[in-house]
C-alpha cells in the first residue's frame, strides 16, 4: 500500500519502525492532494510549505507525542493561528485568527502537523457542502454526488486518502452524515466531552467537535487526544479521559442493542434498511442481543432542531458586523448600513435563511410558540433516549435516509435537504455520542450505520463499532474517484 492509503495508526507504526520518515509521509499526502483534489475539492487552504518544513524539522529532531510527525487537516471552522479560517464564507474569506482552537493545540501538543483546512457548508449550515461560498466538494465514490455536509471536505479528504484523519464538527449530523456518504468513520462525542473553544459556533447547545478517520481504532486514538475538560470552555465537562483504544475488543457477547423502529420508517430508503438489517444480524451472530425499541418523539426532532439551531445561529452570527474583522462594505455611510450591507455581502442564502428563521423564532410574541416549544420537544427526545438506555447499551440505526445524492439535486428543495438530517439530529438534541461506520454499499455507494451511546459512554460505543468493523471489511473498500 502507498503511504497515503495507510490509516493513522499504520502511519505511526511505519514511523516508529523507521520504515519511513515524516517528510516522506507529508510528501505522499501532498502529492495525493495535488493529484486528486482538483476532482474532490476537499481543501480550502493548503498549508503546504509550513507542513513540509515542519516534517523536515521532525526528521532532524523528532519530538514525542501520540501523533508525532503525522499530517492532519481541519474543517475550516476550527480557528488556526496564522492560518486563514474562512468557515467557507465570504464574510471570513481573509480572516487569520490570532489563536488556535483548543483541539488544534491538543493535536499540536501530540506532535501532529497541520496540512490544510477543509471545505464545509458556509458556517456549517447545510448537509451537502454545496453551500460553501467558494465551491462544492465532491464525493470520492461518485464525483457527481455530494460528500454530505456540513463537514463534506473533512469526510471526502479522508475517503480519498488525502489525509489520514481530520477534525470536524457536528451540530445535527455534520460529521456522521458525510462520513456515511463517503464510507469513512465519523465520531461525534457526547456534548461536553471535547472543547468547543476556538471552533466558530453555529448552534452552541448542539455543536460538538469530533473526528473523521479511516477506521474505528483511529477514531478512538484521536478521541483520547482531543477529549477532556477545558477551563476556557464552560460547557466542557470535568471528567477523566480514558485511553479509548484500550477498550477496543471484539467480545460483545451480551451487548444489548436496541434498534428504533422509527429510524427504519420515516422515508428511509429500502436499500438502506436492508443493509442495516444485515448488519444487525451480524451483531446477533457475534452474540449481541438485538431488540426493536421505540423513540416515539423522533418525528418532532427535526422541526424542533430547525428552531433551536437557527435561533442560536441568529445570535451567534451577530458578531459578523463588519466592524472589527471580516468583510466590510466600505460604501456604507452610516452605521446601520455598515451592518446590513456588510452582512448582505458576506453571508450566503442559507446562512441568511437560518438567521431569519431564528430571529423570528425568538421574537417577542413567537418565543413561546416556537423556541420554548422546541425546548420542550428537546426534553421529550431526551427522555425517549433515557428510557431506552435504561435497558440497552447502544442504539443502532441508519445514519442517513438515503445514500449520497447528486450535486444540485436538492438545492431548490430546502425541505428535502433538511430531511437528510432526520436520523442524526435527535442525537445532537439529546447531546449523546454517536458514530457512523461503513456497513456496506447500496448501488455502489457507501451506507453508514449509526451507533448511539449513553452520555459519556464512548467506550461502549467504540467497542460496538470496532467489533463490527473487525467482523467485516466494509471499511477497507476504497472509492475509485471517478463518475459512476
Amino acid at each position: 500500500m502507498e503511504l497515503h492509503e495507510l490509516t493513522l495508526q499504520q502511519l505511526i507504526k511505519e514511523l516508529e519502525e523507521k520504515k519511513t520518515n515524516a517528510q516522506e509521509i507529508m510528501t505522499a499526502i501532498l502529492n495525493r492532494i495535488n493529484a486528486v483534489d482538483q476532482k474532490v475539492k476537499a481543501f480550502l487552504t493548503l498549508n503546504q510549505e509550513a507542513a513540509i518544513e515542519k516534517a523536515r524539522e521532525f526528521d532532524r529532531q523528532p519530538w514525542q507525542g501520540k501523533i508525532a510527525g503525522i499530517p492532519f487537516a481541519l474543517k475550516d471552522n476550527y480557528c488556526t493561528k496564522g492560518v486563514r479560517t474562512t468557515c467557507a464564507s465570504k464574510m471570513l474569506e481573509n480572516f487569520i485568527p490570532p489563536y488556535d482552537a483548543t483541539l488544534v493545540k491538543k493535536l499540536y501538543a501530540e506532535g501532529g502537523i497541520l496540512t490544510g483546512k477543509l471545505n464545509l457548508d458556509e458556517f456549517a449550515m447545510g448537509s451537502s457542502t454545496e453551500l460553501s461560498a467558494f465551491f462544492p466538494s465532491h464525493n470520492p465514490w461518485d464525483l457527481e454526488r455530494v460528500p454530505g455536509g456540513s463537514s463534506g471536505g473533512s469526510a471526502a479528504a479522508v475517503a480519498a486518502d488525502e489525509i489520514p484523519f481530520s477534525l470536524a464538527s457536528d451540530t445535527g449530523g455534520s460529521i456522521r452524515q458525510p462520513a456515511a456518504y463517503c464510507g469513512v468513520v465519523g465520531l461525534k462525542p457526547t456534548y461536553g466531552r471535547v472543547s468547543r473553544w476556538g471552533i466558530v459556533a453555529y448552534a452552541s447547545s448542539l455543536d460538538q467537535a469530533g473526528v473523521i478517520t479511516k477506521d474505528v481504532s483511529d477514531a478512538a486514538l484521536v478521541l483520547s487526544i482531543i477529549a477532556g475538560y477545558d477551563p476556557l470552555e464552560s460547557t466542557s465537562v470535568q471528567m477523566e479521559v480514558p485511553d479509548y483504544t484500550a477498550f477496543l475488543n471484539t467480545d460483545i457477547k451480551g451487548l444489548k442493542i436496541g434498534y428504533p423502529k422509527e429510524y427504519f420508517q420515516q422515508g428511509v430508503d429500502g436499500k438502506i434498511t436492508e443493509t442495516l438489517k444485515k448488519a444487525l444480524l451480524k451483531y446477533e451472530e457475534m452474540g449481541a442481543h438485538i431488540e426493536e425499541v421505540s423513540l416515539p418523539h423522533s418525528e418532532y426532532a427535526l422541526p424542533a432542531y430547525y428552531i433551536i439551531g437557527p435561533a442560536e445561529a441568529s445570535s451567534n452570527m451577530g458578531k459578523f458586523d463588519g466592524v472589527r474583522y471580516g468583510l466590510r462594505d466600505f460604501s456604507a455611510d452610516n452605521v446601520a448600513d455598515l451592518f446590513s450591507l456588510s452582512r448582505q455581502a458576506g453571508f450566503g442564502p442559507e446562512v441568511k435563511r437560518r438567521i431569519m428563521l431564528g430571529t423570528y423564532a425568538l421574537s417577542s410574541g413567537y418565543y413561546d410558540a416556537y423556541y420554548l416549544k422546541a425546548l420542550k420537544v428537546r426534553r421529550l427526545i431526551n427522555d425517549d433516549f433515557a428510557k431506552v438506555f435504561s435497558s440497552f447499551d447502544v442504539i443502532v440505526a441508519p445514519t442517513t435516509p438515503t445514500t449520497a445524492f447528486k450535486i444540485g439535486e436538492n438545492t431548490d428543495d430546502i425541505l428535502t435537504a433538511y430531511m437528510n438530517d432526520i436520523l442524526t439530529v435527535p442525537i445532537n438534541m439529546a447531546g449523546l455520542p454517536g458514530i457512523s461506520i461503513p456497513c456496506g454499499l447500496a448501488d455502489g455507494l457507501p451506507v453508514g450505520m449509526q451507533i448511539i451511546g449513553k452520555p459519556f459512554a464512548e467506550t461502549t460505543l467504540l467497542k460496538a463499532a470496532y467489533a463490527f468493523e473487525q467482523a467485516t471489511d466494509y471499511h477497507q473498500l476504497k472509492p475509485s474517484l471517478g463518475v459512476r
Binding site: 471552522n77 476550527y78 480557528c79 479560517t85 468557515c87 471570513l92 480572516f95 485568527p97 490570532p98 489563536y99 482552537a101 468547543r196 473553544w197 476556538g198 471552533i199 466558530v200 459556533a201 448552534a203 452552541s204 447547545s205 477551563p231 476556557l232 470552555e233 464552560s234 460547557t235 435561533a311 442560536e312 441568529s314 445570535s315 451577530g318 458578531k319 459578523f320 458586523d321 466592524v323 472589527r324 474583522y325 452610516n334 452605521v335 451592518f339 430571529t359 425568538l362 421574537s363 417577542s364 418565543y367 423556541y371
Partner: protein
C-alpha cells in the same frame, strides 16, 4: 394645579462591580487606560471565542444582594440580549433576564425625618458594553472610534420598584444605595467615572389614583444633581401635558444637562425586541446556602447599624450619625479619631465642619485626605489643653490639610503656641490700658463696645496667640481694679 399630581419614580442603577478582571475573560478592568489596551479575542467578540464566568462577580453580586436585603437565588442563569451596536462586539449582551441572582430587596431612606422603605425588585449580573468616541451623534458623525476597554466589565443592575415620590426621595435612595455599595466594598461607586449609572422611570398620576401613569425612562443621568433636575423636569412636563389634554406615550428620553430638558429618544413601538434567550455557552449558576453564609460573614458593619451605634455608644445626634455613616471611610475616620480623642461630638463637629469644607473645596474624598484620624485627634487635644485656641486651630488645620504635617510641627514652625501665662498677659494688657485712656474711659462710662476694641488690641499685640479666656479674665480684673 400640579399639586393634585404626584410623581412616581423607580430607578435602574448599574453598578460596576469591583473586580480585577472582566466578567468573562482575563482582561483588566482598570479605569482610564489607553483605548483598546484591555481587550482580548474573547471580549472583542472574535469567532470561536467563549465566555468563562468570573466567580468573583457572583461573589460580589451576592454580597450586594445581602447589603440590599435581597433574596439570593439558589439557581440562576445568563441570557443573551440581542441587538446590533458597534460597541457590542458579539451583537448580544450577556445579561440575566428570566432568573436574576437577587430578588425582593429593599432599602430604608430618611424622608423629612421619617423612614421610608423603597423596595427593590431585582438585581442581575451583566457585562458592560464598550465606548464609542465621535463628534456629535452616531448618525451625524463622519466616523466613530470604538474603545472596547469597558466591554465585559462586570455590572450589577439594581432595579427598584416605583416607590419614590419625588426627586429628593430618588436622591436619598441613590445616596443610600451608594453608601451600601461602599460599605459592602463591592464597587467604587463613583458616578463621575460611571461606576454607578442611573436611569429613572418617571410617571405622574392624580393623587389617590392607584394605577401608575404612563412612564418615561430617562437616560444620561450623570450626577446626583442631573438626576434630581431631570426627574423634576420630566414630572412637570408630564403634568403639563396631561393638563393640556395630551396623551402620554411610553418612551425612552434622554436628559440634556446643558439645556435642562429631557428629549424623546424612542417610543414603545420603536423599542428593540431584544430576543432574550438562555446563553448556551454558560451553564446555570448554583448558589448554596453555605456559600451565602461565607460571604455574609465577610460583610462589614453596614451603615444602618453603624448609625445606631454612633448614637448609642457616643450619644451623637441622629443627624451627625447619618452624615458620618454615608461612607465607610468617613465612619472609619471617626472611629479611629474617637479611639484617641474620645469627645465624639467634637470629632463629629470637626468632620462635618472644617474637614468636610476642605474636602469639598479641594474636590477630594476623605480617604484621599492627608490628615489622618490620629492627626486630627492630636489637633483636638492641643485645643483641649489650651495649647492653641479654636480659632488658631482652624488655620493650623488648613495647613495640615495642605501639607500633611502634624499640628505640633505647624504650631512650632509658625510660633503659634497660645499665650496663657497670666503674668505675661497682665503686662501686655496693662500697657494697652495705659496707652488707651479714652477707650478705657468710654468703657467705664458703659460703652461695652470699647471692651472689644481692647481685646482686639491684645490679640494684635500677641499675633492672635493670647488665650482668649485668660485675656477676658485679666482685662476684667484690671479694668475693675483701676476703676476702684
Amino acid at each position: 394645579m400640579s399639586n393634585e399630581f404626584e410623581t412616581v419614580v423607580g430607578l435602574e442603577v448599574h453598578v460596576e462591580l469591583k473586580t480585577n478582571t472582566k466578567i468573562f475573560c482575563a482582561c483588566k478592568t482598570a479605569f482610564g487606560a489607553e483605548p483598546n489596551t484591555q481587550v482580548c479575542p474573547i471580549c472583542s467578540g472574535f469567532p470561536g471565542m467563549l465566555p468563562v464566568l468570573n466567580k468573583k462577580v457572583v461573589e460580589l453580586a451576592i454580597k450586594t444582594g445581602l447589603a440590599i436585603n435581597a433574596e439570593i437565588a439558589s439557581y440562576c442563569k445568563f441570557d443573551r440580549k440581542n441587538y446590533f451596536y458597534p460597541d457590542l462586539p458579539n451583537a448580544y449582551q450577556i445579561s440575566q433576564f428570566a432568573l436574576p441572582i437577587c430578588t425582593n430587596g429593599y432599602l430604608d431612606i430618611d424622608v423629612n425625618g421619617s423612614q421610608k422603605r423603597i423596595r427593590i425588585n431585582r438585581a442581575h449580573m451583566e457585562e458592560d458594553a464598550g465606548k464609542l468616541v465621535h463628534d456629535g451623534t452616531i448618525t451625524t458623525t463622519a466616523f466613530s472610534l470604538v474603545d472596547l476597554n469597558r466591554t465585559g466589565v462586570p455590572l450589577l443592575e439594581i432595579v427598584s420598584e416605583p416607590d419614590m415620590r419625588s426627586a429628593q426621595e430618588a436622591r436619598a435612595y441613590l445616596e443610600k444605595l451608594r453608601s451600601m455599595l461602599l460599605f459592602a466594598q463591592v464597587s467604587d461607586a463613583r458616578m463621575e467615572e460611571g461606576s454607578i449609572r442611573c436611569d429613572a422611570n418617571v410617571s405622574v398620576r392624580r393623587k389617590g389614583e392607584e394605577k401608575l401613569g404612563v412612564r418615561a425612562e430617562i437616560k444620561n443621568l450623570n450626577s446626583f444633581k442631573a438626576m434630581e433636575k431631570a426627574i423634576e423636569y420630566e414630572a412637570k412636563r408630564q403634568m403639563e401635558a396631561i393638563e393640556d389634554g395630551e396623551t402620554l406615550i411610553q418612551e425612552t428620553r434622554t436628559w440634556d444637562d446643558e439645556k435642562g430638558v429631557t428629549r424623546s429618544m424612542r417610543n414603545k413601538e420603536e423599542a428593540h425586541d431584544y430576543r432574550y434567550y438562555p446563553d448556551p455557552d454558560l451553564p446555570p449558576i448554583q448558589i448554596d446556602a453555605a456559600w451565602i453564609e461565607e460571604i455574609k460573614a465577610t460583610l462589614p458593619e453596614m451603615p444602618d447599624a453603624a448609625k445606631q451605634r454612633l448614637q448609642d455608644q457616643f450619644g451623637l445626634p441622629e443627624y451627625d450619625a447619618a452624615i458620618i455613616t454615608t461612607s465607610p471611610h468617613s465612619l472609619s475616620f471617626f472611629d479611629q479619631c474617637v479611639a484617641v480623642f474620645p469627645e465624639a461630638k467634637t470629632v463629629s463637629n470637626w468632620m462635618m465642619g472644617e474637614l468636610s469644607r476642605m474636602l469639598n473645596q479641594n474636590n477630594l474624598e476623605i480617604q484621599q485626605c492627608k490628615i489622618t484620624p490620629a492627626m486630627l485627634a492630636d489637633l483636638l487635644k492641643l485645643i483641649a489643653d489650651g495649647t492653641i485656641s479654636g480659632k488658631m486651630a482652624k488655620s493650623v488645620f488648613e495647613k495640615m490639610f495642605d501639607s500633611g504635617n502634624s499640628a505640633a510641627q505647624i504650631i512650632e514652625e509658625q510660633g503659634m503656641v497660645q499665650i496663657s501665662d497670666e503674668d505675661t498677659l497682665r503686662k501686655i494688657i496693662a500697657e494697652i490700658i495705659d496707652n488707651n485712656p479714652v477707650v478705657v474711659a468710654d468703657y467705664r462710662s458703659g460703652k461695652e463696645k470699647a471692651r472689644g476694641f481692647l481685646v482686639g488690641q491684645v490679640m494684635k499685640a500677641t499675633k492672635g496667640q493670647a488665650n482668649p479666656n485668660s485675656v477676658n479674665k485679666i482685662l476684667t480684673e484690671l479694668l475693675t481694679k483701676e476703676g476702684d
